[in-house]
């Protein structure tokens, strides 16, 4: 199998087959909290795609150039990754505030949330556990964030319609969102096995 085919395989498996939300359950807080409206879930998806890809690059560099050569990998990995992501999100926040105050206002609430989203840190750990090389890490990070965007948009679309429908009071609010996620997750299980 050529290198390029391998990259496509990584992308499909991280975005659809092992969908980060529906099969691996990472980043659920924002998934349940922000899918009330379609517009906020679109904004969040773009922010997550950007931050996940950039942190995959940074974390790969730290892992392979600093932590593994010095033998500090198991002990300092968690601290190093979380500090990198936290400070990176901080930098992005300052940059957006300076360059485009309007975008900053629109994303204001979600940006700091990203730093503590387990999806981003999870993506860097997944890359590190699978020993991906530099390009593979970027593709895998992008795939994971795309999978997040797919799941966000699916649930937001369904919840926008549910708002006007007649539900039993037991399921109103978050309960129905979980039920729908269960059904979506069942649907995504059907993709397992398309790549051998």
């Amino acid at each position: 199998m050529s290198y390029f085919q391998n990259l496509i395989k990584i992308f499909i498996s991280s975005s659809i087959i092992n969908n980060i939300i529906l099969i691996q359950f990472l980043g659920l807080c924002s998934y349940i909290g922000l899918t009330d409206s379609l517009s906020s879930s679109i904004g969040m998806s773009f922010a997550v795609i950007f931050v996940t890809v950039s942190s995959s690059i940074l974390a790969w560099m730290i892992d392979n150039w600093i932590l593994i050569p010095t033998g500090l990998q198991p002990a300092l990995q968690i601290t190093a990754f979380i500090l990198v992501i936290g400070s990176f999100v901080g930098l992005v926040e300052i940059y957006i505030k300076k360059v485009s105050p309007n975008l900053y206002k629109a994303m204001g609430i979600y940006l700091p949330l990203i730093a503590t989203n387990c999806l981003i840190l999870g993506a860097t750990f997944i890359n590190s556990m699978n020993n991906y090389d530099f390009v593979e890490s970027i593709v895998s990070g992008f795939g994971i964030a795309t999978g997040y965007a797919i799941a966000m948009l699916l649930l937001a679309g369904i919840r926008e319609r549910l708002r006007n429908s007649d539900l039993p009071p037991f399921f109103k609010g978050k309960a129905i969102a979980f039920m729908i996620s269960g059904i979506l997750s069942l649907a995504f299980l059907g993709f397992s096995g398309i790549i051998k």
């Binding site: 691996q24 359950f25 909290g33 968690i78 601290t79 500090l83 503590t116 387990c118 299980l189």
Partner: protein
């Protein structure tokens, strides 16, 4: 009495998982077997309680602007300790749920309690709050794990409970059932609190 109330608040009226809906990732992912649920609860306790105490003890010297990086560094230190300990003592289970143990560092419950409680309250109260949140988290996690493992495999913590003729319902240990169980429990506890609130 007031002290007991801190613990009680975190278990039912402000249950971190079911009412505030945070820290869900590990609850849904780990609840397909009782053994991993117990290990996860242990790791959670090992991180939540000491980091609450440390942050509460340092609250007067932590500058307001730097508090999030400091919280995260404290939590990261305890997560590393807990991860290495569970690798040493419970390696087979650790290998299965490794990713979720490492991700305790960004568990919203722990960061949330540091921000909302430990940073403004005394050491003893923070200790109680840490215990309460651990119970609130562990109770939900282990309850779901017991139901899922019993229906999905017919066993509890690896011991056969159901009779030999029981046909396991495989769906229960697959990912979708986690969402469905959390949905049912959330609906149940919200309905209960609404009814209780209505009577008063």
């Amino acid at each position: 009495m007031k002290k007991l109330k801190i613990i009680w608040e975190a278990i039912i009226p402000n249950n971190p998982v079911l009412i505030i809906s945070i820290g869900l990732c590990s609850v849904i992912a780990v609840s397909n077997s009782v053994k991993s649920a117990l290990l996860m609860t242990l790791v959670f306790a090992l991180v939540q309680i000491p980091s609450n105490i440390i942050i509460s003890a340092m609250r007067k010297i932590i500058p307001n602007e730097l508090r999030v990086p400091i919280f995260v560094s404290v939590i990261a230190a305890f997560t590393t300790i807990a991860a290495l300990l569970s690798q040493a003592f419970f390696n087979p289970i650790y290998q299965v749920i490794k990713l979720y143990i490492l991700l305790v560092v960004v568990n919203c419950i722990i960061i949330g309690r540091a921000e909302a409680f430990a940073y403004t309250n005394g050491i003893f109260d923070s200790l109680l709050d840490g215990i309460g949140n651990t119970i609130g988290y562990g109770l939900v996690l282990v309850t779901i794990a017991i139901m899922r493992e019993l229906i999905g495999k017919g066993t509890l913590a690896g011991i056969q409970i159901m009779s030999e003729s029981y046909q396991p319902m495989l769906l229960m240990i697959l990912p979708p059932a986690g969402f469905i169980f959390i949905g049912i429990l959330t609906g149940a506890i919200e309905t209960y609190l609404k009814q209780k609130g209505g009577k008063e």
